[in-house]
């Protein structure tokens, strides 16, 4: 494998919204390397989405600095860094077909007074095919299931051909099968050289597919490290505020909640 390069570096970053007294991010220093999956794990309200917006470059730190490809500059101003983002909740525009919506991922590549070229259209159709939703291309977004919609949103972000994908809770509210296929997509994308950061509140999901894990807790310092180093019973119980137990079966790590009476 090629030597890994740093995509984003946090140097002693502090962040909090002005009206809140507590800091959401305190003194955070991390490196995000390419070709990896990073999971941000934490309870609801622990600051996962804020972390996403910092990575996206939409929010700026109050103290410290965030370097994109080693330079302190808003990544949107630089053509060479393309970051795709899927928010947890999104107002989906009504009256679009799947194909029309996925094609919007080409916005960064199309001149503002122009329209998508045949090449752009080809990319969108190939990605629909790759994610097995080609047959849905003429369907209206309001007519497809939640799992399908999630795939369509991922197709949109892949059509953008980003170096870094930020997915906010991509598998929350999905059934097992949809969850599985979304995880398969993420693993595949990593193999193709992409970097993926996704948030979840499900510890097993992090164990399954992540390379690095960041643990977040409201008002507390975050922990960021290689998965095996950070996913300990002690850390998980502290950050998820539920007693957790790790067992091994067939070389698989399984995370359980520990109940006293069991």
């Amino acid at each position: 494998m090629n030597p890994k390069k740093q995509l984003i570096t946090f140097k002693k970053v502090w962040f909090g919204y002005n009206h809140q007294s507590k800091n959401i991010i305190s003194d955070l220093s991390i490196d995000i390397y390419d070709q990896s999956i990073i999971t941000i794990l934490g309870l609801n309200g622990s600051g996962k989405t804020t972390m996403m917006l910092l990575l996206l470059g939409l929010e700026s730190p109050q103290k410290g600095e965030i370097l994109f490809l080693g330079e302190e500059e808003n990544p949107r101003m630089k053509k060479e860094m393309n970051i795709g983002y899927i928010p947890q909740y999104e107002e989906i525009p009504l009256g679009f077909t799947v194909y029309e919506y996925v094609l919007l991922g080409r916005i960064p590549f199309v001149n503002i007074f122009s329209r998508p070229s045949n090449y752009d259209r080809e990319i969108a159709l190939n990605i629909l095919d790759e994610l097995n939703i080609y047959e849905l291309r003429e369907s209206n977004l309001s007519k497809i299931s939640g799992g399908e919609l999630q795939k369509v949103r991922i197709a949109r972000v892949l059509t953008q051909q980003p170096d870094l994908l930020l997915l906010d809770e991509p598998t929350t509210h999905l059934d097992l099968k949809s969850k599985w296929s979304i995880q398969e997509i993420l693993i595949n994308q990593k193999k193709q050289g992409k970097t993926i950061v996704f948030t979840t509140h499900d510890a097993s999901e992090a164990v399954d597919i992540a390379d690095y894990v960041m643990l977040m807790k409201k008002g507390k310092r975050s922990k960021f490290a290689i998965k095996n180093k950070v996913m300990t019973e002690e850390n998980l119980s502290y950050y998820l505020e539920v007693p957790m137990e790790i067992i091994y079966a067939n070389k698989h790590k399984i995370i359980l909640q520990r109940r006293a009476e069991l």
């Binding site: 983002y85 928010p87 077909t97 960064p108």
Partner: protein, 325 residues
């Protein structure tokens, strides 16, 4: 593609047919022979009817495209081109010129267009100071306040207007009409209307970015501050120019974009051209009724509101409609 071509043909047909509809030398339809045999009729067609039908065409196109942009920008199918106080602003400008400057058609036009754009400027400044909700909410609230402010101004000017000479002019203007349009009025605004509409047409795929959530649009490199303001300004500019020659013609900018979305979906790449074509057809037909139906002139705004409201009712009561879902 077929739908677009078909609608365009209808537009051309309606435009040409309208040149043969009139009340001189006889009411309703005139054959080519009727017109060619009468030198006065030829003059009428070239100097009065042609500019008027042309004005109706560009009014329909402009209001429909501006309405579509506003509905997309505010993610609300019930928004119309006047949502940011533009209509009332332009109305106030016209009223001011009728009452204070004693009505000259060119100055009325300039005042009206100026105050329309001025209203947008106030809305953008005022909305910065509103800290309720997001960008959409604060701009709509500012639009409501600015509209009310200019309505109060219009009310006051009506009150002090001379009831015999000024008030009828003012009322007729506020109802919306193309009866006084001549080539010289059109020439002033045509360049702006063409630049505005051609730009919106060229931006038709990009306009989709407005329907995406802020963070997503940002990640796609959409420069909200520049592109959003550009689109709003283009829409307001063409709306103000149209109001400056026609008065306040309501409902076209509300109903036509919805009709377009029902026909071809919300992707602005298709919906903008369809909206513009339908707007042209609708405005020309309404104006034909306004000038031909009775010996006098029916204000265009009354007809567009009447027919528009009927169509609106049909749309929202139709089963499986896509409008409000």
């Amino acid at each position: 593609m077929k739908k677009k071509g078909f609608l365009f043909l209808i537009l051309v047909f309606v435009f040409v047919l309208s040149l043969f509809l009139g009340r001189y030398p006889k009411p309703y339809f005139l054959s080519i022979k009727d017109i060619l045999n009468d030198p006065l009729a030829i003059k009428l067609v070239l100097n009065l009817r042609l500019p008027r039908v042309f004005a109706a065409l560009i009014l329909g196109i402009s209001l429909a495209s501006a309405g579509f942009v506003m509905q997309t920008a505010f993610r609300n199918p019930l928004a119309d081109p006047g949502i940011l106080g533009v209509s009332q602003g332009a109305g106030f400008g016209a009223a001011l010129s009728i009452v204070v400057l004693n009505y000259s058609s060119i100055w009325l036009q300039i005042y009206s267009a100026f105050f329309g754009v001025f209203a947008l400027l106030i809305v953008l400044i005022v909305s910065k100071g509103i800290h309720v909700g997001n960008r959409i909410i604060s701009q709509i609230l500012a639009g409501i306040a600015v509209s009310a402010f200019f309505s109060a101004g219009i009310g006051f000017l009506k009150y002090i207007a001379d009831p015999l000479s000024q008030l009828p002019n003012l009322i007729f203007w506020l109802l919306g009409s193309l009866s006084s349009v001549r080539w010289e009025n059109l020439i002033l605004i045509i360049p702006i209307l063409i630049i505005g509409n051609v730009s919106i047409f060229a931006l038709r795929w990009r306009i989709n970015s407005l329907s995406l959530q802020k963070e997503v649009a940002f990640s796609l490199g959409f420069q909200i501050n520049k592109e959003y303001i550009l689109l709003l300004t283009l829409s307001v500019l063409i709306t103000s120019c149209v109001i400056s020659i026609a008065g306040i013609v309501s409902w076209i900018g509300l109903i036509i974009p919805n009709l377009a979305r029902m026909l071809v979906g919300s992707d602005s790449d298709n919906a903008i051209p369809v909206s513009m074509t339908l707007g042209g057809i609708f405005a020309i037909i309404c104006d034909d009724f306004a000038r031909v139906l009775i010996a006098g002139e029916i204000p265009l705004g009354i007809l567009t509101a009447f027919i528009g409201a009927l169509m609106f009712f049909l749309l929202v009561t139709k089963r499986n409609n896509k409008l409000l879902k």
